[in-house]
């Protein structure tokens, strides 16, 4: 069975008209399995900032700003698009709606999925979730508790994890 047209189309569009701050590239040996990168939205604790030793260099290359880069993996099962894509973070992240294994609590990945949605819309929703953590519907109960007790401290921890783990690989 060849790859369904819908998946071929979606993949082509992801490559030809990429969403700013998001990339999704299928594995050569499994076209239903994607390596995903999402940049933390600016103004969020996931935006990231260069470690001190890189700050000067970053200032010299203003056209390539440093960003928190989060890696995820995405898989389209046989039932896609009748069921949502499977997706999880590979980069450690301190966020009330993401658990220790990188699993994500997001309505469009569960009950609010519709076949009219696409890989692109799901990735945008996840990027938006980074900009708007929702501690009232938590997946990581301990993180949500921190978030509600002391938001400033939680945001500081999220920033710290971002600069520690969400570091782009040097090429």
């Amino acid at each position: 069975m060849a790859l369904p047209k819908r998946i071929v189309k979606e993949t082509e569009r992801l490559m030809s008209e990429p969403v700013p701050g998001i990339s999704a590239v299928p594995h050569e040996d499994n076209l239903r399995y994607f390596d995903v990168e999402i940049h933390g939205p600016s103004g969020s604790p996931y935006e990231g900032e260069p470690p001190d030793n890189l700050r000067l260099r970053a200032a010299n290359y203003m056209h390539t700003p440093f960003r928190g880069v989060f890696k995820l993996e995405l898989f389209l099962t046989d039932d896609y698009p009748m069921v949502p894509p499977k997706i999880r973070f590979l980069t450690k992240i301190y966020h009330p709606n993401v658990d220790k294994l990188g699993r994500i609590c997001l309505d469009v990945l569960k009950n609010n999925w519709s076949p009219a949605l696409q890989i692109r819309t799901i990735l945008l929703s996840i990027q938006a979730l980074l900009g708007a953590p929702n501690p009232d519907d938590p997946l990581a109960a301990d993180v949500a508790k921190d978030w509600k007790e002391d938001e400033n401290r939680a945001i500081a921890t999220a920033k710290e994890w971002t600069s520690k783990y969400a570091v782009p690989e040097s090429k």
């Binding site: 594995h27 499994n30 399995y33 898989f75 590979l90 220790k100 294994l101 990188g102 699993r103």
Partner: protein
Amino acid sequence: MGAKIPRNFRLLEELEKGEKGLGTEACSFGLADSSDMLMSDWNGTILGPPHSVFENRIYGLKMHCGEQYPDQPPTIQFIHKIILPCVEEADGKVIPSKLPCLANWKRENTMETILIELRRFMASSQCKKIPQPPEGTTYN
């Protein structure tokens, strides 16, 4: 050819099945470290089958899923001492060539498949009467 589920999503499925207790009561398993994003090391238990020397004993096992899982089987090791033809006497490692589901590994097999087959092996007529070390003793 249908979709080929990648390692990590396959392990997440197995984890969810284990967490919800959807599997058989006689065997259980879970992640050794609940924050291990690589999901490599797992713990399993087998409840000794009835009408055998293993009855009412609980056997702990360690399972390791490498990068090639599920194309390659995991490695399995008993924590509690057990005498079985398919288990190394010195350290409790399961000998893949002597357990059919490991010797003829298929991608569809899961960790639960292995635990169930080990338990069935314990209940078989060739094994169920083998004298065993005292209950609860472990390999070092």
